[in-house]
Subunit: 541 residues, 2 copies
Amino acid sequence: MQENYMQFPKTAANYVPLSPVSFLSRAEALHGARTAVIYGDIKRSWTDMASRVRLVASGLMSAGIGKGDTVSVLCPNIPELFELHFALPLTGGVINTLNTRLEPETIAYILDHADSKLVIVDRELIPLLTRAFEALGREIPVIEITDPNQPTTHTLGGSTYEDLLERGHPVGTIGLPDDEWDAIALNYTSGTSGRPKGVVYHHRGAYLMALGTVAAWKKPHYPVYLSVVPMFHCNGWGHPWVIAMLGGTMVFTRTPTPDLILDAIRQHGVTHFGAAPIVLQMLAEAETGETAAFEPPIKVLTAGAPPPPSVLEKTRSMGLDVMQVYGLTETYGHISKCLWQESWGDLDAREQAELQAQQGIALPMVEAVSVIDSETGQPVRRDGETQGEIGVRGNTVMKGYYKDPEATAKAFENGWFWSGDAAVVHADGYMQIRDRLKDVIISGGENISSVEVEAALYRHPSVQAAAVVAMPHEKWGEVPCAFVELRSGAQTSADEIIAFCRGHLAGFKAPKAVVFQNLPKTSTGKIQKFQLREAAKSMST
Amino acid sequence: MQENYMQFPKTAANYVPLSPVSFLSRAEALHGARTAVIYGDIKRSWTDMASRVRLVASGLMSAGIGKGDTVSVLCPNIPELFELHFALPLTGGVINTLNTRLEPETIAYILDHADSKLVIVDRELIPLLTRAFEALGREIPVIEITDPNQPTTHTLGGSTYEDLLERGHPVGTIGLPDDEWDAIALNYTSGTSGRPKGVVYHHRGAYLMALGTVAAWKKPHYPVYLSVVPMFHCNGWGHPWVIAMLGGTMVFTRTPTPDLILDAIRQHGVTHFGAAPIVLQMLAEAETGETAAFEPPIKVLTAGAPPPPSVLEKTRSMGLDVMQVYGLTETYGHISKCLWQESWGDLDAREQAELQAQQGIALPMVEAVSVIDSETGQPVRRDGETQGEIGVRGNTVMKGYYKDPEATAKAFENGWFWSGDAAVVHADGYMQIRDRLKDVIISGGENISSVEVEAALYRHPSVQAAAVVAMPHEKWGEVPCAFVELRSGAQTSADEIIAFCRGHLAGFKAPKAVVFQNLPKTSTGKIQKFQLREAAKSMST
């Protein structure tokens, strides 16, 4: 009698496209009087926030932004960027947050590749944007954000975010996308082949990411969340949407310095935040006095190269309850977590730190995070030894790479998204990364493409051949280390090479060490990077 | 550049139909060694459970069950019913759990209306099924569950659940539906117009219900959940799927008596359960000694007529942390919750109990639960006085009523599912039910259609006219009260009328009081029930 079950059309009552903009109407309807935003002297309720969002959305629509239009945002974590995570999706547009640490050339590349129709820029970053426009050879319409907490004289003389608020007229109800598969965000990776790739998120994925994160992280109602993870990284690991869902408060400091973070925690009763390991390390170093531990402990997510045991020990004694998560830009951020196991309580601090640094187990909204044997296509044995590549399958895997069907098809071969991380699985089912198959260096929470750094090196007239690999670094986790083969008769120094790279790359991408040597090659002339990785492991700056 | 965002086909890597069967593969992969089921001497891991489910699913498929086939299950809460919540969806079939308290005639009606291809029955309930088959006038293939904890001599001689396990051959991977909109369950309501209506659930809704429940109820990993809410009510409020998602343990007692419940809590470290108010009341009455409160408190969901203040006070002192939720069969169960507010801490017990009994605010996976003014179609003012009808919109609203397009269309008029509950909204956004627009009496957690009871009364030769309304009852919350107008010259007694009804209805549906009087009618002859409701409010047995 199958046909009897097939005769149900979807209606407005029982089918709603999954979208995180629903969480804003929810927060407004149920928690309107609660505080949505704290930033310096600014304090806004969810009622205020929702009405500002609607004004901004209608202002953007008046400015011609509509379905499928990319709007780039160059801005630190401040309330306006939070608001844009709702206002832009409401217009049908796609939010493209730009990493404020990038060099102008890469920003120019992204603005061009992303087909940006508009750039919304924090005035302090106008010099960077100006240089990006110079590199681009053309200008794109701009809206300027004037942050009262960061006065500046920079301006391009264009219209402002405040104008949007004034020009906008409130729209009655908050609109959902026609289709939950519609794009919501465009986030560029560092790109392993040298060029950043544009990762497209959809409303369905962003919704499930938020709901799954709450289910997995057991966030209470009304968390007070400190915005540390840049929103240009996977939209702040999805937290603009998570916090709306819970009617929580987002606390901003604009700059994530240890002093500002610790002050904000104490002043506003922060309960949760996410941060790169480097931030935890800075907090551990900043907290030297005999200050009482936070009580109850603050829940902290971290991702990337794991913090060293000493840092985890220190942060624990400070009252920070840190959980390691794992994910990629392509997976909307975290998709697995290293859930603490009761049995770890008896181990010593070093053993605990090692276990805590594992990639752990899949979050509930992901269908599967498996370590796949490349030979058999099957999950590896759970022996803690057999390596495979982490594959991901689920609704929080990107739509694909923008305007790059080849890379998209390659990323999704055989029904998995391939992470490029080689890992093992332990008997308890916890994954642990053992090696990186892609040429990426993770430094202070930022991904660096070794290919991009190599390309800069090859532009130096003395360089015959170059290879860049990760080198361990106490503060940054990893830094780029360059191995350089000089042209016959050429003379240069490590300092000169590094200075040259800094002229062509964002500072964090420049090599921190240069080794001059003939590069090991295969019989077909391919550089054997694994040998260089081994060599770099024993070095450090 | 909208077209650039449209060129992403869904692939196996990034699009997975939302279905709660995913949670079983998750539990097996990540929590295989943990305990899934405890029932008397039976204790099974998630590995065992998943392999049994696959065997049962393949056995059912061998027996001809496939996509869109209804399989009815007449069974108390025991591990087999838990397993069937995965095994049946895996076959593509639809699970139709039958209320074991119903009369044979209604079961016969449901089996017929549901197009059941197979009935899976616990042997203790074979006498009830036999009478249902007699009423139906035909038999349907049967599989018998033999519960080792409840020996019985009843059998129809057919094949058993154990045969399924033996006949089945493990299927490699657990299958997902082709389409998340496919039906997963068929749950019959009491029916306000006398006939039960078949509410169809889909995989998408069941998945979101589970994920949203965990997000809203902040369940930790590995909860130990006591199965008290019958799985024939909204599939146990979705908990077979919730517990799999969390790798938790489901504890069964078969019968939810206070002694068994309290024993199970103490013996197995139960952390969570859901129960009708009547069960909480029985627990409060059973716990007379000087027993220590449960520590940490046990989280309890309750729904239906709110427990009286004295019960809430007692259960709180016992260490039961009770939260009122609200929902209907049509909404997969709970869709709103009365979240405790900090400011309530200072009130006295009676005021707290009154506030705790509110219907509260929407759960996160529901788009909207609003109280709508029937005149304007807009939400009512938040003044605690203006009444409207609770409307629901979201992905956990049923597909519709099985084979009843008229009732479906009516239920979904104007883009809302209409609950039939009249409510107000307080200034804090919390809803509170004030009246019931549908003719339903809620007695001990069961819904009773007053129309059905009236139909039984009209079959009595002395009855000229009859109307049934709810009467308050200390133990059951509400019970049916009959107002009867006798035929001229007829003579009978309340006891005789009640006995007559018990011969035609399940015991809980029979009136508990009968009042003989002329019925108040409008000028067009319609019985004015509101007057009778007022009269019944001041009565009690």
